[in-house]
């Protein structure tokens, strides 16, 4: 299983600012190794977020997103104590899910 994400979700006046740091190589598929061979693409394809089991965010990513991606977004209606779950799926079918509590 891949390395865990680092999630922070702080709510203020009914809106939570969510920051996620993901651990992923995000290989674009266009780089070559020292022998000239293309390094195969390996990157996150989809990111979804749920607030207490309700989907609130989804994104489709491609090769342009850099290594160890940082994502930030706001969620309306989030209260301290709510559960925020982030999941990513990459092009190899690997997944990672992590949960944090809104503070």
């Amino acid at each position: 299983m891949a390395d865990p994400m680092r999630i922070r979700a702080q709510s203020k006046d009914g809106v939570a600012k969510v920051r996620v740091l993901m651990s992923h190589e995000m290989e674009s598929g266009q780089r070559k190794d020292s022998s000239g061979k293309l390094i195969p693409a390996w990157h996150i394809m989809e990111v979804t977020a749920k607030l207490n089991d309700k989907p609130v965010f989804s994104a489709e990513w491609g090769p342009a997103v850099s290594k160890n991606p940082f994502l930030q977004f706001d969620v309306k209606g989030a209260k301290p104590g709510d559960k925020l779950t982030i999941e990513w799926v990459d092009n190899k079918g690997e997944k990672r899910t992590d949960t944090a509590t809104v503070s």
Binding site: D3, R19, F70, F73
Partner: protein, 267 residues
């Protein structure tokens, strides 16, 4: 396009007005660096390092959090980073953070120091040392450097570090001082801290370990020194060698009072 709340929008607005003012290359780079501060991937390494420090590992199944003395007592991490390198009675050596971690991984956990030292950066147990160094350093973030110079060996290493800093050699006649021996200089567009004295908070000795965005790697001080020597056209220093530790003493003592920004993020 949907409006997005970006925390640095305020900072950028100040820099963008007046609209017709020409931005210097330095200003653009400062903006870029400000944007990098939020969400430093170094935090991923910190998390890993904390886990490793607290886990029972190695042939001896020892736990560093219980038995590793970084200079302030067994298992004490807070404030340790800003007092290293320092003299250790048990090894009778002046040691920096990374060589001390090698000592602990060997005595407490049964790992082989030499083979970890010889492992390439970014791989295996070498990567684990760097992760732990990142977390340990983060526990002193914002604290001021205060390396001890009470032991004769510490004073000797400061003097040796100073000699090494100014030592010229190789086909380019470079010394550390060639780049880091003057105020207000830069190499290409990279500002160079003057390391003969205190270059200020969060700069130079106070800026490593750092996450390097350009290659997506977490670099420790040993890694930084290794690459400095490579660019100087010098031979390669041994990992955790006395030369690298002496340079750490020289820079760290010179930086007395500077606040640590570690783990930092750079280009």
């Amino acid at each position: 396009m949907k409006k997005q709340l970006i925390p640095i929008a305020a900072a950028l607005a100040c820099l963008a007005a007046p609209a017709l003012a020409q931005k210097s290359a330095s200003q653009s780079i400062d903006e870029y660096r400000a944007m990098l501060q939020d969400g430093n991937p170094a935090e991923l390494f910190e998390m890993k390092g904390e886990e490793l420090w607290k886990q029972a590992r190695g042939p001896k199944k020892g736990t560093l959090a219980k038995s590793c003395d970084l200079g302030k007592g067994a298992g004490v991490v807070k404030g340790a980073f800003v007092e290293l390198p320092r003299y250790f009675e048990d090894t009778k050596r002046v040691q920096d953070l990374e060589s001390r971690l090698l000592t602990c991984m060997s005595t407490v956990q049964g790992f082989d120091e030499k083979s970890i030292a010889n492992t390439p950066f970014g791989k295996g147990e070498k990567a684990n040392v760097v992760a732990m160094a990142t977390w340990i350093a983060s526990q002193s973030k914002g604290m001021q450097f205060n390396l001890p110079q009470s032991h004769a060996q510490e004073r000797l290493f400061y003097a040796v570090g100073k000699q090494l800093f100014f030592q010229r050699g190789g086909p380019h006649d470079f010394a550390c001082a060639t780049c880091h021996g003057e105020q207000g200089k830069r190499i290409r567009l990279q500002d160079l801290p003057d390391l003969r004295g205190n270059p200020g908070d969060g700069v130079g000795f106070a800026a490593w370990p750092a996450y390097r965005v350009s290659n997506g790697q977490m670099w420790s001080m040993q890694h930084r020194l290794n690459d400095c020597y490579r660019q100087q056209r010098f031979p390669e220093p041994n990992y955790g060698s006395d030369a690298t530790i002496a340079l750490g003493v020289y820079m760290g003592v010179n930086a007395k009072g500077a606040a640590s920004a570690v783990p930092a993020i750079t280009r």
